[in-house]
């Protein structure tokens, strides 16, 4: 198909084969890994997916958002709330959830761009909105207030209502991650992608040449927010409980940004690589810190790892790795 040709144009065939092998491996992984390994892989895919979503806003449109938990939280709460109060299944509720998050993203984006906020200022705007929403949800009874929203759990497997074991959620998040990957590739290859590149290189020049800067940036934000909402919905139905103080927490927002930054901003594979490295390192450090009997040891190792990576590989791990493997992406 023409679409497939367009997507794979310019990619060395070695890379395509590697991708294919990776996909097959991921498909059969549940059969090979133990339950623990599966739960870790689920986390990796989750962070890869949500990192990919965040990457659209930062890597493609150049806006540092430190309040992405807003969209995840909104998505989760809307879908879960609709399910809890009205029995509306998540496959339908997700549309409302994504719309809500996209609207929030549009507001944040519009305010940011209209008032020319960049860098730290924009980041603080995103934080302010996220915190504001957290406090609002703390007092909103429909969403359970600060007492939290709990979804009923039973052992039936019901794909329509997303009730089921880790296997169901694994394949779901895998589908989401793969979908996001393909979507990003398609976006990057499209005209919009080239506009984004131009805006990132030199926004004023782009504006002068007739690139609709504001519109392109807004589209990036809205897509990013919408995808993040999907992650939020998945999260809500996987963990079956939501609290404003964790769903909209700044810690969550920061978590979302780590994988893409470590992996390689603006690259397609960065979020995935970052997720593997960070989650993998996290588990390794957890094991290692058991020997120390000092609480917080794992986080200290983690902090050191982040430090080392940002000092020695500031552009991210994937660009360096890809260079070594000779399957570099066309550098955006």
């Amino acid at each position: 198909m023409k679409l497939i040709r367009r997507l794979t144009d310019g990619v060395p065939s070695r890379a395509l084969w590697a991708l294919g092998v990776l996909l097959v491996a991921l498909l059969v992984a549940p059969a090979l890994l133990g339950k623990y390994g599966l739960s870790v892989l689920i986390l990796i895919l989750y962070f890869a997916f949500v990192g990919q979503a965040w990457n659209i806003m930062m890597g493609f449109a150049g806006q540092l958002s430190l309040g992405h938990a807003l969209y995840a939280g909104l998505g989760g709460y809307v879908a879960a709330g609709l399910f809890f109060h009205y029995g509306l299944g998540p496959w339908a509720g997700v549309f409302v959830a994504v719309a809500a998050a996209a609207a929030a993203g549009a507001i944040v984006g519009y305010l940011g761009f209209r008032f020319s906020l960049a860098g730290v200022y924009f980041a603080l705007l995103t934080i302010a909105f996220s915190e504001f929403t957290r406090l609002a949800f703390d007092h909103w009874e429909w969403a359970g207030g600060s007492g939290g929203l709990f979804l009923k759990v039973d052992s039936t497997v019901d794909v329509w209502n997303l009730r089921g074991g880790p296997l169901l959620f694994y394949y779901l998040i895998l589908a989401l991650a793969v979908g996001a990957f393909i979507l990003c590739r398609a976006l990057l290859e499209s005209r919009l992608g080239r506009y984004w590149l131009a805006i990132r290189e030199d926004a004023e020049a782009a504006q002068a040449v007739g690139v609709p800067v504001l519109r392109c940036k807004m589209i990036a934000v809205v897509i990013s927010a919408g995808l993040t909402a999907l992650a939020g919905v998945w999260n809500a139905f996987y963990y079956n409980n939501l609290f404003p103080e964790t769903a909209f927490a700044m810690g969550r927002s920061i978590e979302i940004t780590l994988a893409p930054i470590i992996g390689g901003l603006g690259t397609l594979f960065g979020p995935m690589v970052g997720a593997v490295v960070l989650t993998g390192l996290g588990e390794v450090f957890t094991d290692a810190s058991e020997y120390f009997h000092v609480p917080g040891m794992k986080q200290i190792f983690y902090g050191l790892a982040l430090l080392v990576i940002v000092i020695y590989r500031p552009a991210g791990i994937w660009p360096w790795l890809a260079g070594r493997l000779g399957i570099g992406e066309r550098r955006p």
Partner: protein, 293 residues
């Protein structure tokens, strides 16, 4: 009834002013660092928490009041900040925000968990003899400890002002902040100045920490919200403006207190964030900042 309310209001405002002074001192450190070097110090609150722990340890093990250990802590933090800037942070100046953010996030994680490992998770506080004292000014009651802290904060801010306006280094720093290229042209050793600046900023934060421990207890996890608070104050007050940082601190302190009185107390923070959003949109240079920054 109304006079009762007015009294509560006055009380809230006065309390807010006192607390706000210490906030202002903390934010001052960030204003100096961000204003001069444009480094996004996400470890700001964490540095303050370390200062709080040091002051606490001085009190607990050496029976030294934080007021006395303050200069020592400030000096220590100056040296540490200078070193940190020269080694770790200097390469990151001018780099994209997300890299600075990640660097300082890593530093923050290390500091917080270092504190957790060394001092444990229990909250630590200082009980001074003056803890329950207060001064009466007419119908208003001023908490003794807060008053002392606020006065100390003002004194330190004053010293800083003198530094930036009267000393050569201070003036050089302001020059470098205003115009980096010009400063280089004139022959200023910008790298050394930056390190000095970070040292001064860190010293400010350390001092603020020593004062803060007299007012609130410290746990390792206090840091994140103070980092956020510092940024809110600096942006509301205006980047690069010392007056702005202090005024911003006062404003946030008072608005928190008053909002607690008028609205439901748990919505207090919403007001601070609301103010931040308004300032970002309507006057991004802050209330006292120079426009076109």
């Amino acid at each position: 009834m109304t006079s009762d309310f007015l009294l509560s209001l006055a009380q809230a405002v006065s309390k807010g002013l006192l607390t706000g002074m210490v906030y202002g001192l903390m934010a001052l450190g960030l204003s100096v660092i961000f204003g001069v070097m444009r480094v996004v110090n996400f470890a700001h609150g964490e540095i303050m928490v370390v200062g709080m722990y040091l002051a606490w340890m001085g009190f607990e093990y050496l029976q030294v009041s934080p007021m006395l250990s303050l200069p020592v802590i400030a000096a220590l933090f100056f040296a540490a900040g200078y070193a940190l800037q020269r080694t770790l942070i200097s390469p990151f100046i001018g780099r994209p925000e997300h890299q600075q953010f990640l660097l300082l996030l890593a530093v923050a994680i290390l500091l917080v968990n270092g504190c957790l490992a060394i001092a444990g998770p229990d909250s630590r506080s200082i009980q001074m003899e003056s803890q329950f004292d207060s001064y009466d000014l007419g119908p208003l009651v001023f908490d003794a400890v807060r008053l002392h802290a606020a006065l100390a904060a003002v004194a330190i801010a004053g010293l800083l002002w003198l530094f930036f306006t009267r000393t050569r280094t201070g003036k050089s720093i302001r020059a470098a902040a205003d115009n980096n290229m010009g400063a280089l042209v004139v022959g200023l050793d910008v790298r050394r100045l930056y390190a000095f600046t970070f040292g001064v900023g860190a010293a400010c934060v350390g001092a603020a920490g020593a004062l803060m421990i007299t007012i609130i207890p410290v746990t390792p996890f206090l840091a994140a919200e103070y980092t956020l608070l510092a940024f809110v104050i600096v942006i509301v007050g205006g980047l690069g403006s010392m007056t702005g940082a202090l005024m911003g601190g006062l404003l946030i302190g008072v608005s928190e207190a008053v909002a607690g009185l008028l609205l439901q107390p748990s919505l207090k923070s919403m007001v601070s964030f609301g103010i931040l959003i308004l300032v970002l949109l309507l006057r991004p240079q802050g209330l006292f900042g120079k426009s076109g920054a």
